[in-house]
Symmetry: C2
Subunit: 336 residues, 2 copies
Amino acid sequence: MPGEFEIIRRYFAPAAQPTSSVKLGLGDDCALVQAPNVDELIAVSTDTLVEGVHFLSDIEPEDLAWRLVAAAVSDLAAMGAEPLWLSLALTLPDSDRHWLEAFQKGLKASLQTYDIALIGGDTTSGRLRVLTAHVQGSVPAESALTRAGAKPGDLIYVSGTLGDSRAGLELLQDTSARVYQALDNQVRSYLINRFLRPTPRLVLGKALRGLATATIDISDGLLADLTHILERSGVSALVNIDKLPISLQLQQMSDDAQARQWAATGGEDFELCFTVPASRKDEVDTLAQTLGLDLSLVGQVGLGSGLKTVYAGALWHREAQPGFDHFGETNATCSE
Amino acid sequence: MPGEFEIIRRYFAPAAQPTSSVKLGLGDDCALVQAPNVDELIAVSTDTLVEGVHFLSDIEPEDLAWRLVAAAVSDLAAMGAEPLWLSLALTLPDSDRHWLEAFQKGLKASLQTYDIALIGGDTTSGRLRVLTAHVQGSVPAESALTRAGAKPGDLIYVSGTLGDSRAGLELLQDTSARVYQALDNQVRSYLINRFLRPTPRLVLGKALRGLATATIDISDGLLADLTHILERSGVSALVNIDKLPISLQLQQMSDDAQARQWAATGGEDFELCFTVPASRKDEVDTLAQTLGLDLSLVGQVGLGSGLKTVYAGALWHREAQPGFDHFGETNATCSE
């Protein structure tokens, strides 16, 4: 069995492609990195995935690495930041060679895809797999996207489609279920991949600099995440559940009510939810065309506080599933 | 029971004292921080503590927070860096109010002591307590201390005293043991505190800029950590076990052989081990006086590779305890 230092040398050092801002990488007390130029701020975020909570024990290590990196990078996208550096803290029950090799494969590929450099971390042993990614990026000081700028009258948009990730998790959790068996292979793969390999909306985030008044990535579910924007901005919102973008694949898997529920509360789609002044609607439409990415108008910001949801002209009530809260009563992902 | 967001609001936000470089703290997708000036590099390090591996389940949460912060900050000291920002990933089995309150107390006090700002993190649930601190600091590009610069002929120094932390752990593990009972209260407290609340040598690290040719903090044990310097620098070393600085307190607790063993291999003292050109010995002596901190000359760097240890003029053999390796055969800290 390889030891801790051997693990780093064999599995992580080869994944650490040097970039120009990394002056000293793995293997010392600290990494040394060169900050971006003085007009830029550094955006910093931390994401932890816990076995049995955020992922099933039998997940492919390659997928797990992708998911970890993608979920963390998604927070950079939500700030309009460009990825720079990633540190990785891995707690593992053993140093299984096959697991580490597969993990490294997914790690290397996702780091390359998002152009982010692995600069360090810590590898420890523990009964439970716990993985923490710490990511950093750069964003011009004046144009960082936060949750705090939404104004009454602003339009509320979401990118891509919602609910797919939740559907993919459902499929993974019971491959013997009738719904799994009944689905077309390609549809099944699409939904499962939306859960396993979400796409952080980095290009969109960058394009929203100077356009969006508030932005968040959808990790806990649209309604839960939008609520964070409302609270930080001191505003209310009305969301049209009819307008939530639902993929053809999700429509094939579930009835309307279920699909809407997942789109509104499912979480982990890692799409962006953002607000834009109503006067700039045309710019969003143009952006959607330029990027070839659906940007759906799903609601509007109002005065006061609170979030109201309507469907087919009547008030819509979500099921008791208010998004992901680790210590709350419900748990939108898998159970512990 | 408080939920995830409530935990952040109630226990972590009050510990996050804003500093001038923090433009946006807790509560958004990312924190936003202002990089130091262009002549400085950012030093980045990650440290994980796992329950049952790095700490006992019954450790006081206040002590645990101190230890986590101190151990992480120690890596900054070893680079000659000044602390800037800390992110915290906490995986906890529950959201026990008393535990969180006590943890916050230690966190707040240690952050203030080391003048480092809490800027973010992630709080998740899991069967096992796993805590990861990610720290960042700044250091002038030209004077960062690494493990790579030791040259044949350089003198090898260690700060403070060694083996105390290992002794403190021993005492904590069995308070009914005869050695525990026999010790004077003050001596016992001293040794236990050296384990629970180690002192990162930040002032020394900064003073060693431009003086030390290689530096490391002693977390895995002197011999294990010095080996990292030797490997990175491509040199060998001879260490005089007679010269290892051993506290009066440790001498009261254990016989000579045991004390030497712990001083050489015990780990987690978080003192600095560093190399200095022989021609600059006087400067080290002056520095020790200025800082009021023992800096002990324990060996010398040589050509070739490998680490030789001598005691009373003869070769000295350490017991089969080669420092802390998480996935290795031995485990110098507590067992899983």
